[in-house]
């Protein structure tokens, strides 16, 4: 068994010694059945009286909390109350900054008393907590299927969304199974197995000749003479043009001038004043130059132009004489052009060994697939297959670059069963041919299905289960019309539909004498590890170590291995995706135009908009000439505005932002750098698109890479990443409140209470006319006028306003709606900052511990798949102490989590622990996360 390294408990005892309350400590080493009222009155009550009772005593109950009404010892054991008090004291929120500060020694004394007495926790044996069996969520299902069978099954599309709690979608209690989801599971199992497991042992051999194997034998890239000048250009007809004699070239053309522009086609001279004005449409664009592109190889295929006479051919060798089938796979291609059609046609002639198999004309049919098949009787040896293009009427104007794409020619055969081969991927499922006899088949089925079920269930499988699986398989292959393989496939479907695949079943080791909790069994630990690090099933090595009972002994090395594997990207992706909401960047609706207008206020545009909304409803016939002129002017302004380049959250930009967030986190993890770099760092990851968006010069190319930021750059750290800035904004503007809440919630771990119902409207605080002229900062300042608003907004508004230099798209700005941005402010804990860089620095130094607590709680929640409870306080404290001592190393955080009691242990099965001298929580849960203003008194 692993033991906690002592730093946390050291710090506990040393701090006790330092603060000299050993007298108090002694009776507390083993938590008593109930707290001592006498100790409380002697040691704790004076502290509370001095620093807390002004608001939480003597009849005053701010936030519904009173701390002076404990009449019995039992009433002191109130984990719900004390966990809120603990968090507030620890984060320096209580006592408030404008009240007398709690001296560190008193704070420490109070917090220790809370843990040991108020909550009744036992530091020597932290309660691992209650866990519910976890269903695989959509991400885990997909990854598990990929690792189990090598099949990518798109669960985002095929399964309903998972519900979430505490901000994560892997929380066991919230992952339910509805009848509809069960149907999906059954169907998914069928689909996955059908796509992977062959149901026959032999098939007709099949060879695919990719298009790129077809070499050019002959091509004529000579551009024919231009059509006669009088041919109307706009009409894509060029009837009657006589082709100039073409120069034939017999060899493949590599570097001849294959694409010569047809210069000098004069546009028809339009008399001034005619033609243009009538429709108001712009004149048609000049026709593209005529070309004769040579056959072009792109990746696996070859593209043949409709416009170019060409012949391509490939030779295929067959070993055996016999019947064959050729399947030709073609796609028509074009470059789409609005309203301009291409009337060119071409004839395709397909030949095998010189004999024509197909002669067919193709017209423009963008993106259509064609398949032709031909039966051949072939002798052993080489056979030539060729494709010839003959342009039909090659003088038509080439608007759409028409091509025939030869994807592949598939040669199937010979059809004589003696030459049949194993299907593709057969060996991956069936390492050898199935025996012919009943007993042999049964044994083989048992071997295959036992191994598969053990992997799929991620633990050893009992013989009875294997018997049942073999029975399922035999039920199929026992019938003569079915193959052995079909039976195995059917049993595999059953495994994937089983709750033992869909849920993570866990065993425990026997309870050791003197222990209160049990260790989870090694296979369960292997799954806890793999689903934490990879969001997927354990691999062969983890399962092997678990089987040998050596996993715990090799835990540090295994953790390094798991983290080094590329599957660890799943931890990065799913954790940052939810903790920082980086997933949402791909879909968050931000309107670039509105954001742009806010930052580039234009009175002309506002005027145009006003005109438009005023006159839109009036029919054109009823407008005065002056009004019509106004309307035209408004239209002109709109057109002009629309034509101006404006930053938008394009798909590539969104992806780059998401990658930035992921890569920064991955970098810190991989290099074991300080986690504080998540808040403040002098580097980030960008590509050309993102760098341009951020205003960073000299980054070329689409690849994301690490860059050193200039000293004055505001970037670096998650708060100034595009993801966070955009997902905390409204569709048309920033939201300092949302951003402030985000920092409190995701960085400092001290979320504000949710807004009370019946929020007064702003009009109650300032007249509408005045509101219109106020800046966002001034509007938010109204929060201070109502103490009910101020108690929370004084915490979140300054944080959010510090980010006002970034608009809703995450680009830098110095004005908002025409007013200069003022980012300076003061935290409720007293620290002043001038801009976002100073704020980041304060967060990474003075509030370092808050951040460590916050991140530890988030990651522990994610790792355990449950919300944290008050009894996790000891575990979290320990990890944070280690983290702090290491300077914030991710390896320490991860190890702290993996070695923690809740990760390694469970409560013993089927016994209630609510006996003896400890209070163990029942099903009722006291969430330690939200710091709510829940009205509560000690009587409830």
């Amino acid at each position: 068994m692993l033991r906690f390294q002592g730093s946390a408990s050291f710090s506990l005892t040393s701090s006790l010694r330092k603060f000299g309350w050993a007298a108090l400590l002694l009776p507390l080493l083993a938590p008593a059945a109930e707290p001592s009222l006498e100790t409380f009155r002697r040691e704790i009550q004076p502290v509370l009286a001095k620093y807390c009772f002004d608001c939480h005593g003597g009849g005053v109950a701010k936030g519904g909390v009173t701390l002076d009404e404990f009449s019995t010892a039992a009433a002191l054991r109130d984990p719900k109350l004390w966990s809120h008090a603990l968090r507030n004291v620890r984060a320096g929120i209580m006592p408030p900054a404008d009240e007398a500060a709690l001296p560190p020694a008193d704070a420490e004394k109070l917090m220790q008393w809370i843990k040991l007495e108020g909550m009744g926790l036992d530091p020597a044996k932290p309660d691992p907590g209650r866990v519910t069996v976890r269903r695989l969520n959509r991400v885990e299902y997909r990854n598990t299927i990929r690792d189990l069978l090598g099949v990518d099954f798109d669960t985002q599309k095929e399964f309903p969304a998972d519900d979430s709690g505490h901000g994560f979608d892997n929380i066991a209690d919230v992952l339910t199974v509805s009848p509809m989801l069960l149907e999906r599971y059954l169907d998914a199992a069928q689909t996955i197995v059908a796509g992977k497991v062959p149901v026959v042992s032999r098939v007709v051999p099949e060879v695919s000749i990719p298009g790129r194997r077809f070499a050019t034998v002959r091509v004529d890239t000579t551009v024919p003479a231009p059509p006669k000048p009088e041919t109307p250009v706009a009409a894509p007809m060029a009837e009657g043009a006589v082709p100039a004699p073409a120069v034939k070239s017999e060899t493949p053309i590599a570097a001849t001038v294959a694409q010569v522009a047809v210069a000098g086609i004069p546009a028809p001279a339009a008399p001034p004043g005619r033609g243009r004005g009538r429709s108001g449409r712009p004149p048609p664009p000049p026709p593209p130059p005529m070309t004769r592109p040579a056959p072009l190889i792109e990746n696996e295929v070859v593209e043949l132009s409709y416009y170019t006479p060409a012949l391509v051919a490939a030779t295929h060798r067959v070993e055996h004489a016999g019947k064959y089938q050729l399947i030709v796979d073609l796609t028509t291609r074009e470059r789409y052009q609005d309203n301009l059609f291409d009337l060119n046609r071409c004839r395709l002639i397909v030949r095998a060994d010189g004999q024509t198999l197909l002669e067919q004309d193709f017209v423009r049919e963008g993106g259509k697939k064609f398949e032709f098949s031909f039966d051949r009787d072939w002798v052993a040896g080489d056979h030539e297959i060729s494709f010839e293009i003959v342009p039909v009427d090659p003088q038509k104007i080439q608007f759409r670059n028409l091509r025939l794409r030869l994807n592949a020619v598939v040669v199937r055969g010979p059809f004589d069963p003696q030459h049949y081969v194993k299907p593709k991927g057969y060996e991956a499922i069936f390492p050898r041919d199935p025996p012919a006899d009943v007993a042999g088949r049964r044994a083989f089925a048992r071997e295959l299905l036992g191994a598969f079920a053990a992997r799929a269930y991620r633990r050893p499988v009992d013989p009875a289960t294997v018997d049942r699986l073999v029975a399922v398989a035999e039920g199929v292959f026992g019938e003569t019309k079915n193959t052995f393989e079909a039976g195995i496939a059917q049993a595999m479907v059953a495994v994937l539909a089983s709750p033992r695949f869909l849920f993570r079943e866990e065993d425990v080791l026997p309870l050791q004498p003197g222990e209160t909790y049990v260790q989870v069994e090694d296979h369960a630990l292997a799954s806890r590890l793999s689903y934490f690090f990879w969001s997927s099933m354990p691999d062969a090595e983890l399962l092997r170590l678990a089987g040998e009972g050596r996993l715990r002994a090799e835990l540090p090395a295994q953790m390094r291995r798991l983290l080094g594997d590329r599957r660890a990207l799943e931890l990065v992706r799913n954790f940052t995706g939810q903790w920082l909401q980086a997933r949402d960047i791909l879909t968050v609706p931000i309107n670039g135009n509105d954001v742009f207008l806010r930052d580039n206020a234009s009175s002309d545009y506002d005027k145009a908009r006003a005109t438009f909304s005023r006159l839109r409803g009036k029919p054109e016939s009823e407008r005065t000439p002056a009004e019509q002129e106004e309307m035209n002017e408004a239209r002109r302004l709109f057109t002009e505005f629309n034509a101006r380049p404006k930053p938008q959250l394009t798909e590539p930009l969104r992806r780059a932002m998401q990658q930035e967030t992921e890569m920064v986190f991955a970098h810190i993890l991989k290099e074991d750098r300080s986690l504080l770099e998540l808040i403040e760092s002098d580097y980030t990851f960008v590509n050309d698109v993102l760098a341009t968006h951020y205003g960073i010069a000299d980054v070329k190319g689409g690849a994301m890479r690490k860059i050193q930021l200039a000293p004055e750059s505001p970037r670096g750290g998650v708060l100034t990443q595009g993801t966070v800035l955009a997902v905390t904004s409204n569709p048309t503007r920033t939201s300092p409140v949302k951003r402030g809440v985000f920092i409190l919630e995701a960085i400092l771990g001290t979320p504000p209470a949710p807004p009370p119902p019946n929020i007064p409207s702003l009009e109650d605080a300032a007249p509408a006319a005045k509101l219109k002229t106020m800046s966002l900062r001034e509007t938010l300042a109204l929060h201070a006028t109502d103490p009910k608003c101020a108690s929370c907004h004084s915490r979140m508004d300054p944080l959010g306003l510090a980010l006002e230099n970034f608009n809703a798209l995450g680009t830098w700005r110095t004005t908002d709606a025409g007013q200069p941005v003022q980012a300076a402010g003061k935290l409720i804990t007293g620290e002043a900052f001038a801009d976002v860089r100073e704020l980041k620095h304060i967060l990474a130094t003075a509030h370092r511990r808050d951040f460590y607590y916050c991140l530890t709680e988030k990651l522990l929640t994610y790792a355990l798949g449950r919300g944290l409870e008050y009894y996790d306080t000891i575990t979290v404290d320990r990890i944070v102490a280690q983290l702090e001592a290491s300077g914030g190393k991710p390896s320490v955080l991860l190890r702290g989590i993996v070695e923690s009691a809740p990760f390694q242990q469970r409560r013993p099965p089927a016994t209630s622990l609510a006996t003896g001298n400890r209070s163990v929580p029942a099903a009722e849960s006291t969430s330690m996360a939200p710091l709510t203003h829940r009205p509560r008194t000690l009587s409830d």
């Binding site: 979430s164 989801l181 069960l182 149907e183 059953a494 089983s498 409207s761 009009e763 509101l771 203003h933």
Partner: protein
């Protein structure tokens, strides 16, 4: 071959004109019931009374649907002016003018359990979670406890009549990461149908999957066979997975058992669907292409989901449905109608006229889509010659009344359809102040649900509907 006519089905003059085959398919469920009831011993009683269950006086199926829109509505623009019969529709509901004889506007109904009280903030989670359950939600991110929803109460009693006991739809294509509303689990905010207090029925948001679930995958002509194969494939593994579930259940503790119960309930539902498929014969196969997936434009998305609902009702694939147009608190923008701001953000309009107008525009947009759907329902002939809308009861509303203030009294509600003649549409009825659950009791009664004394916070039956 002789088909017995259900004894209680009154034959009206229109009966003779209607498509007989169609009709028989519609009531086929009732005819088949005596044999079918053997597999539902607990529902024997209900089965014997099947002729009255979810059936109109003419013998046509009686359908019930609940459609919820997010964030309430601007009250001043929602409520009609004038009296019960001479009311004048206001701006938000203007689109119902051609249908005013088909709907009734319900005033004065409330959800007291959606009011914060000691639970504090979280009105959007409650607006959604309370809407069809009428109970107080347990405020927790993980310990999810609501109550069975009224659609499921009805489905429990009449679900055996159709291929699907109920259908759950949604146009929430995206889910936000991070916490949901004020400490409530996201389960409350995205689900309105609850099979039990702890099992929400996640709605389907992909029209393709809805269609395939109703009629089978593949092209027209192949679907019935594909659906049959799918059923056979599902059945082939049920015995095994049931055994595995029992194996697992024996080893698990309390909360785990509940998860396994959900799994087993799902297995039983699949079994019943298979048995029903045999009972009812081949699937209906509508002559229309399978929807390709989730459309980009919101209007197209909502329309195709309504179409799925209409198809499900028309083919009598189910008689109970719920549809979440957007979860309460939804912040999507409506660029199609020129509104770039988020809906939820706007709904806290601070009495700013421009924002109020925009919210009202969104309210109106939702109402227009619903009116369009009702128009189609009205134009679709049912098996008894009446319109599909005539034989339905469709409640359209929101779990918040005034989205700005998060109120839950005088909820914006429209009850569309005549319930086969049992309802009296064409009116604007003030119900004083009563729990919305009173209406639910009445709707359950007329669907044939027996012995439902109370539901949620109900205080009695709602009369004058």
């Amino acid at each position: 071959m002789h088909f017995p006519t259900p004894s209680s089905a009154r034959v009206t003059p229109s009966f003779a004109e209607m498509n007989r085959r169609h009709f028989l398919r519609g009531v086929g469920a009732c005819i088949a019931l005596p044999a079918f009831s053997s597999l539902l011993p607990s529902r024997m009683l209900a089965a014997q009374a099947a002729a009255q269950l979810a059936t109109t006086p003419t013998g046509a199926p009686l359908r019930t649907a609940f459609v919820v829109f997010p964030n309430g509505a601007i009250p001043a623009r929602w409520w009609p002016e004038g009296g019960r019969d001479d009311f004048k529709l206001n701006a938000t509901l203007a689109a119902f003018e051609p249908l005013r004889k088909r709907i009734q506007v319900l005033g004065g109904l409330e959800h007291a359990n959606a009011v914060g009280g000691k639970d504090g903030a979280g009105d959007h989670a409650r607006g959604n979670g309370v809407f069809l359950t009428g109970v107080r939600l347990n405020k927790s991110a993980t310990d999810v406890r609501a109550g069975i929803s009224i659609d499921q109460v009805i489905a429990n009693d009449i679900g055996h009549l159709t291929r699907l006991p109920s259908l759950e739809l949604s146009c929430d294509a995206l889910r936000k990461s991070g916490d949901c509303d004020s400490g409530y689990s996201c389960a409350y905010q995205y689900n309105i149908a609850w099979q039990s207090a702890t099992t929400p029925l996640t709605p389907e948001n992909n029209p393709r999957l809805v269609f395939e679930r109703l009629f089978g995958a593949g092209a027209h002509g192949e679907r019935a066979e594909n659906a049959r194969r799918r059923m056979l494939a599902r059945r082939s593994v049920l015995d095994f997975v049931m055994d595995d579930a029992r194996h697992l259940q024996a080893r698990l503790g309390g909360n785990d058992r509940e998860k396994l119960d959900q799994y087993l309930t799902g297995v039983r539902d699949v079994e019943q669907r298979i048995q029903k498929a045999e009972q009812f014969g081949p699937n209906v196969d509508p002559d229309r292409p399978t929807p390709p997936g989730i459309p980009t434009r919101q209007a197209d998305y909502v329309e195709i989901m309504y179409d799925m609902l209409l198809l499900a009702f028309k083919t009598d694939s189910t008689r109970v449905a719920t549809f979440v147009l957007g979860h309460d608190g939804d912040n999507r923008s409506f660029s199609d109608i020129g509104i770039a701001e988020g809906h939820h953000d706007l709904s806290h309009h601070q009495n700013n006229q421009e924002r109020i107008d925009k919210v009202a525009q969104i309210d109106r947009w939702y109402a227009e889509q619903f009116a369009k759907f009702l128009g189609k329902m009205d134009a679709t002939e049912d098996v008894d010659g009446k319109s599909l809308l005539h034989n339905s009861r469709i409640l359209y509303g929101s779990g918040n009344a005034d989205g700005n203030r998060h109120t839950h009294d005088n909820l914006p509600l429209i009850l569309a359809g005549a319930g086969g003649g049992a309802l009296a549409p064409g009116r604007y009825v003030q119900h004083g102040t009563q729990p919305l659950t009173n209406l639910f009791l009445s709707l359950a009664d007329s669907a044939g649900v027996k012995k439902l004394e109370r539901f949620g916070d109900s205080t009695g039956r709602l009369g004058n509907v």
